[in-house]
Symmetry: C2
Subunit: 197 residues, 2 copies
């Protein structure tokens, strides 16, 4: 495949984003946005436990509900606080390429310290970070760099689809769209009231 053909082959994407939450919240919104060629097509709603351990299974569930997609985009390895998504677990369950992209470089040392301080099961949580290691950096404009992990497809294909998907700011379009919707929804909707859509 040429790089262009590879770009072309990634058309339908599931982007996942978590909603805002406050200290008193037990859950937060988990949003899936299905896009085709960076245009929104469908919205999926679920919720995860803040600092819980259900993020990986909930992302897999969103992927199943999304129908046929070519790629899953995640904004971070931890969602809803320190609810860790295992990109390799998601890849194994869905057979889909996974791209985790972050506009800022994750501070793995700080993450490790926080996990160790606050979670009895910190060793289990930290495993995913240890396995993923340091993210790759991709310069998207002269001044701007984004950080990403990719699982289940070649680095060159990941770079090509990132270049194709980043239009405004430092997020791939599907994740940028998902973030705007997750914030509006998360701020307006008590998570207890969320029904799946």
């Amino acid at each position: 495949l040429t790089s262009r053909a590879r770009e072309h082959s990634i058309r339908r994407t599931l982007a996942v984003e978590d909603g805002p939450f406050s200290k008193k919240d037990s859950h937060c919104l988990l949003l899936g946005v299905v896009t085709t060629d960076n245009s929104i097509e469908k919205i999926l709603l679920d919720r995860i436990h803040v600092d819980g351990t259900d993020a990986t299974s909930k992302v897999i569930s969103l992927a199943h509900r999304a129908g046929s997609v070519d790629l899953i985009l995640l904004p971070s390895i931890s969602l809803g606080g320190f609810n860790i998504v295992d990109p390799e677990g998601v890849h194994q369950a869905t057979k889909l390429p996974i791209l985790v992209t972050n506009p800022v470089k994750p501070d793995l040392r700080a993450v490790r310290k926080a996990l160790r301080t606050h979670f009895a099961d910190w060793k289990k949580r930290v495993t995913v970070f240890d396995r993923m290691g340091s993210p790759k950096a991709l310069r998207i404009t002269r001044r701007e760099v984004i950080y990403f992990y990719c699982v289940g497809f070649p680095l060159s294909a990941a770079v090509a689809s990132l270049r194709n998907a980043v239009r405004f700011g430092k997020r791939p379009e599907p994740l940028r769209i998902a973030r705007i919707i997750a914030r509006a929804l998360g701020h307006s909707t008590p998570v207890e009231a969320l029904r799946s859509v």
Copy 2:
């Protein structure tokens, strides 16, 4: 202005959409989506009375919250059942061009009959439909026609911006996006719980 320059001048748009509701609901979601070049930028939430009379003032309020936009897009003259939006009223209050676009031809006779049957103030409600008259038709593909009203800008500019904005199906992108979000939000959120965003 050439038609191209006119198209170019409409960049930032407010698209309004109402959420789903059932017979027992007193209110439904009113959603505003601000787009720049058909890409989502901001989401605004409010609610209107089902079959109420506050749609015009609520659309004007969304327009003020949207900040500087070049155009307001509406999916219909009636939102939330028969809560009538007066496009001329919105135009007068905001000084913005208004485009009302519908993938199906509104059945004005049926609307008039329904208003007459169900509303004591039907004469007032029907006034807007009478003033707007029949919508214009625009052929967007060989087989597909959309129907629209425009207020506050020339027909040629309205046609140019419609041609520019319709990408998938029969709705301008901002309205298509707003509809997907309004449905997800409206189905997931009890309107009583809505807080403005």
